[in-house]
């Protein structure tokens, strides 16, 4: 096979291509941001080695806190996107719980502008309610006009059932997806961890699993009432997973995500009062961890989303009950999934790439299949690389890493954002 390409061509050579359609050994040629050839023995002016590696569509994170605007000391769109690229992501959905909240066109435009120079595509999520206060619908149409496809009050759930019903109905008319952080605040107010044996022993106020499950239950009912689509964020309990599986079996348009920490860590971690283990929803029991894993294996849960939540050290050093919740995830999600889930590479990539791409509404350019003519959003993974997660936090401006010292398998080697090699041999290129 012969073909001619200009000097900017780049070939990813010798890798095993895995996408939503299957797997094959092939070289992938990129030019002007697009895949221009896939086949054997292809050449180009720049050769990127993928020997022993997997070439896959870039990963898509449905849930990251990039902290801009407002908390630039903890993370920026640029630093967060660098962490994302190092983690194999070509697109990230940025949560709207910023200061000010992303609840109107002006803030959407600001974050979109920051995203233009980021190392991965930044999809901006908008708030469902004004200032995420749960009282009045945010101007979703003007945000949807700018390309916002997912709306959420993440950080809190919309407590008022009537307002949520209206939001579902209104969103249906715009063709956008509502995503819910499920937590009934009446049951979770003032709590800082899971309610159970450990909270009792540690003398910390806990929230029961039911604080999450009651809102999952309510929103399934509202989805049935309105016919709307609902995406459940970071499910953490066995009961939530079971309810979502049942709702799917009943034909409702329900999708769900789980975070890496909810399939790797339990509430016992809080025993040292190290707030690096404080997160919302909280780390749960071993039984819940098993249920989340099983949900990921059985498609009850559609996607792994990081809930990457950077916080500066001096805020995490507050007393446990006062420290802000959240932990880093973008650079660890893939390796944790490959190490912990007992799934094949294609199944893990489905959870991290093409299924979340579809939920985010960006399947045209992300996820799916590697094919000639598509945007070159790719990652190259060494699936057998063993490494130990360190406490530095990597490219994030923060270092709240709950996995320090953990040995994992599978590492991102290269990442391409619309053809640009943003990560080569594990190093961010800018």
């Amino acid at each position: 096979m012969t073909s001619t390409h200009d000097e900017r061509d780049l070939v990813i050579k010798g890798g095993r291509v895995i996408d939503a359609t299957g797997e094959r050994v092939a070289d992938v040629v990129i030019s002007s941001g697009r895949i221009v050839a896939i086949g054997t023995d292809l050449d180009a002016s720049i050769v990127v080695d993928a020997g022993g590696c997997v070439v896959a569509p870039g990963l898509v994170d449905l849930h990251a806190h990039l902290r801009q605007p407002g908390k630039e000391e903890a993370e920026t769109v640029e630093s967060g996107s660098r962490a994302a690229a190092l983690g194999g992501y070509s697109a990230v959905v940025a949560m709207p719980n910023t200061t000010p909240a992303i609840d109107c066109a002006a803030v959407v435009r600001e974050v979109q502008a920051l995203g233009r120079t980021a190392l991965c595509q930044i999809e901006v999520a908008g708030a469902i309610t004004v200032n995420r206060a749960g009282e009045q619908l945010a101007p979703m149409a003007e945000m949807a006009e700018l390309g916002v496809k997912i709306f959420t009050d993440d950080g809190t759930g919309v407590q008022d059932a009537q307002l949520m019903r209206r939001a579902f109905e209104y969103a249906g008319g715009l063709g956008v997806t509502l995503a819910q952080h499920c937590e009934v605040s009446a049951l979770s107010q003032g709590t800082c961890m899971h309610e159970g044996e450990w909270s009792a022993r540690l003398g910390l106020a806990g929230q029961p699993s039911e604080a999450e499950e009651l809102m999952v239950m309510r929103d399934i009912a509202l989805a049935r009432l309105t016919g709307a689509r609902i995406h459940f964020q970071h499910l953490s309990t066995a009961g939530s997973v079971a309810m979502v599986a049942a709702a799917k079996a009943g034909g409702l348009r329900v999708t769900a995500e789980a975070a890496p920490h909810h399939f790797t860590l339990t509430d016992e971690r809080c025993s040292t009062y190290d707030s690096v283990y404080k997160v919302h929803p909280p780390l749960r029991t071993a039984g819940d961890v098993e249920a989340v894993k099983e949900g990921l294996r059985t498609d009850a849960i559609d996607a792994i989303a990081t809930d990457h939540a950077p916080h500066v050290a001096h805020e995490k050093e507050r007393p446990f009950d006062q420290a802000p919740p959240g932990m880093l995830g973008l650079e660890y999600a893939l390796a944790l999934a490959l190490t912990e889930l007992d799934l094949g590479l294609a199944e893990v990539l489905a959870l991290l790439s093409w299924r979340p791409a579809a939920i985010a509404g960006i399947a045209d350019d992300h996820g799916g299949m590697l094919d000639v003519g598509r945007a070159a959003n790719l990652c190259v993974i060494d699936p057998s690389a063993l490494w130990t997660i360190d406490a530095s936090g990597g490219a994030s401006l923060s270092s709240n890493v709950p996995y320090a010292g953990r040995e994992v398998r599978g590492r991102v080697r290269h990442t391409f954002r619309t053809g640009e090699p943003v990560v080569l041999d594990g190093e961010a290129q800018r």
């Binding site: 159970g196 044996e197 909270s199 009792a200 540690l202 003398g203 910390l204 009062y273």
Partner: protein, 312 residues
């Protein structure tokens, strides 16, 4: 041992060792001049983020009777009100060159956090709902003084277990020393998951009065009413208060204890608090001796300990 953070850190041997050492300091405290130079040149800081007159004074008295210098850091007059972080405060005080921090904080876990930031000894003076180890030691000491041993004794802890650091550390200490502990509280004032705790639980005080050697009452805070955990103080008193009638149904020599401050007429009747079975003021007195033992164990040297024994 660098710090005293929880009773569980001590274990039975550690608790008994401290109680034995406490005996020595009880003797010191009975002298005309109740003072020994065991910690001369050492500096003990009380770092109290929560109001507590009795615990702070008890620790400071203990430190002074051991010849240590004391410093008091109280939140109302400090840079905390200017927004200084916990860690910065600790490191600033540490820079003065101190030997021990006695820490009281409304958030569980703060003494453990501080222990990670300083080489100085950290004594938990009460953290949130978590632990109050010196209270548990002085309570164990008081019981031992009166009953000889805790082994095989039955101790009821009555009241707001859920929000009580005193209950958590006492359960650990009493059971480690061989006592059987019965928790007496409405379900709303019990931690939600305590199946694995080495205790019996009952919701009716009248069921256990006849069999207990110690009735340990916890302070009932009025804010629990506003949280809807108990309908009213009146109902709490009717269901769980140690009234004169109830006290009369306890064995003749049973002890009545309370960590203070008491709500007379709520968890304990006036006459019961002042009855011969009540050892509440002895608890306070023993507090100084126990805290002397703790500070000495953490800051004193072995040779000093031997010298002290000879001295006594």
């Amino acid at each position: 041992m660098k710090d005293l953070l929880t009773i569980a850190d001590l274990g039975r041997t550690g608790i008994e060792g401290l109680l034995d050492l406490t005996e020595r300091f009880v003797e010191v405290n009975q002298r005309a001049i109740p003072k020994v130079p065991a910690l001369r040149g050492k500096t003990v800081v009380s770092l109290f983020y929560e109001d507590s007159t009795r615990t702070r004074l008890s620790f400071e008295t203990a430190a002074k009777r051991l010849g240590a210098d004391t410093m008091t850091f109280s939140v109302s007059s400090s840079s905390v009100n200017k927004g200084e972080s916990l860690r910065d405060t600790v490191q600033t005080i540490d820079a003065f060159g101190v030997d021990a921090f006695v820490v009281r904080h409304k958030s569980s876990g703060v003494p453990a956090q501080i222990a990670n930031w300083t080489e100085s000894a950290v004594v938990n003076g009460g953290d949130g709902w978590h632990q109050h180890p010196t209270q548990a030691l002085l309570d164990s000491f008081t019981i031992r003084q009166h009953l000889g041993s805790l082994q095989g004794r039955t101790i009821a802890i009555v009241g707001d277990i859920k929000h009580s650091r005193v209950a958590r550390s006492n359960i650990e200490a009493f059971t480690a020393l061989g006592a059987e502990v019965v928790l007496v509280a409405p379900p709303t004032l019990l931690p939600p998951v305590i199946e694995s705790w080495p205790v019996r639980v009952t919701h009716r005080i009248d069921e256990v009065l006849g069999e207990i050697d110690v009735c340990y009452l916890l302070r009932m805070q009025t804010e629990r009413m506003t949280e809807g955990l108990v309908p009213s103080l009146r109902e709490y008193h009717a269901m769980f208060g140690l009234t004169v009638e109830r006290a009369a149904r306890m064995p003749k020599d049973a002890l009545i204890m309370h960590p203070g401050p008491m709500n007379r007429g709520v968890e304990i009747d006036q006459a019961v608090a002042d009855s011969p079975n009540s050892v509440i003021t002895q608890q306070v007195a023993n507090g100084v001796s126990v805290r002397m033992a703790v500070l000495f164990r953490l800051l004193g040297s072995t040779t000093q300990l031997d010298a002290l024994k000879e001295d006594l």
